[in-house]
Symmetry: C2
Subunit: 198 residues, 2 copies
DNA sequence: ATTTTTTTATACCGATCGGTATACAATTCG
DNA sequence: CGAATTGTATACCGATCGGTATAAAAAAAT
């Protein structure tokens, strides 16, 4: 009942996600958002609560639509394939022709004012969660004798995440996909060269 | 002649550098700056021009006082030692007890509004310059048969810079120095394991 | 047809943004 | 001692920030 909404919520959220991705949380103004989404401020606040709520919903959409490769990668039977799928998945997302360069989870609020501290904290936890999930997967791999010898699972997880975060900066600085792939190839020599347990 | 300045320019610049480092260019307000530096706005504008000029001078100071290890590292005779000194130098700076976590060159303006586009561009060029300098050093190493076989000097330079940028994100997310060192140890296995030319 | 409910459009809110005009204080030079 | 010069303090500037009050518009329910 009542007057029907004149815009598509999902389309609007997609636009908001791309804006936050490209300009960060604080760098994206409500004017940027309302003009980009093609709606007025009362409509935005009616559907998404406020700027912070909109960002969190945009982040949720980002995880669901752009980071889905991550949990898929964890299902690979071999640890090396998990690592490779994650590294290439990030690089692909960070350098997609459509959509901004880099990573929303990093571009969003790396360093910011106190006003964005909550968003910053949320993004840090987001990164740590991914690293922890990967660490758990590598723990399993360790028990299966499927890791390079002499390294802790959580250290390997941090290694993979560090490289992916590095490629996010590279992409945001203009590096193209093939350049990131060559970095990833080198990072993966770790697995090729190292002696795998058992 | 005239009234003598009541503050130390170098001290004020040091404070500005730390603020920009911790909160980014756009996340640091003039109020943050004047309160932190202990001076008034007319004094700030008299000495540093404007916010953008202040940031650029802070960046210059950062390069001079915190990134000096970089060009020192390039003087190492062996490419592997160059790489290791750079990686550990970044990690040390990113996790120093005194001073903010991460890297000013990345925290400063990774994703931002149009108002900070010039600063953003300047920081991108800054990163690319470092990568190019390292690439040139590795070109020399290649001619000396001092590189792992099968890789281009500029790809190796991007590999090292990608890891350093990754550790900057890790540091900004709370990782401590020993955690970054373990990542670096893995990244350097590239050199240990790989066959070095000639 | 009227009431009720929801969305939209406009105009506005106080606070803060980067930046500056003006007046005064503190020094050197003649 | 002035006079000239430079720095500091206060108060202010227009613009923009995130957010909202008010009322009109568009649908469903009675």
């Amino acid at each position: 009942m009542g007057r029907p909404r004149e815009f598509d919520v999902d389309d609007a959220l997609e636009t908001a996600m791309e804006l936050f991705w490209r300009k960060g949380y604080e760098g994206t103004s409500l004017t940027d958002l309302t003009e980009g989404m093609g709606i007025t401020k009362p409509s935005l606040y009616g559907v998404f609560g406020n700027k912070e709520g909109l960002f969190l919903k945009a982040l949720e959409r980002y995880e669901r639509t752009k980071m889905n490769f991550f949990h898929e990668a964890l299902k690979e039977p071999k640890a090396r394939d998990v690592a490779e799928k994650i590294l290439r998945g990030f690089a692909d997302s960070q350098t997609a022709e459509t959509g901004p360069s880099g990573c929303l989870g990093i571009n969003g609020a790396l360093a910011c004012s106190e006003a964005a501290a909550e968003i910053q904290k949320c993004l840090i936890e987001n990164r740590q969660r991914g690293e922890r999930d990967l660490g758990r997967r590598f723990e399993r791999a360790a028990s299966e004798g499927d890791l390079p010898a002499g390294h802790e699972p959580y250290d390997l997880a941090r290694y993979i995440m560090t490289i992916s975060q590095g490629t996010a900066i590279q992409a945001a600085s203009g590096a193209d996909r093939s350049a990131l792939y060559r970095v990833i190839d080198m990072a993966l020599q770790f697995w090729s060269d190292a002696v795998v347990q058992n």
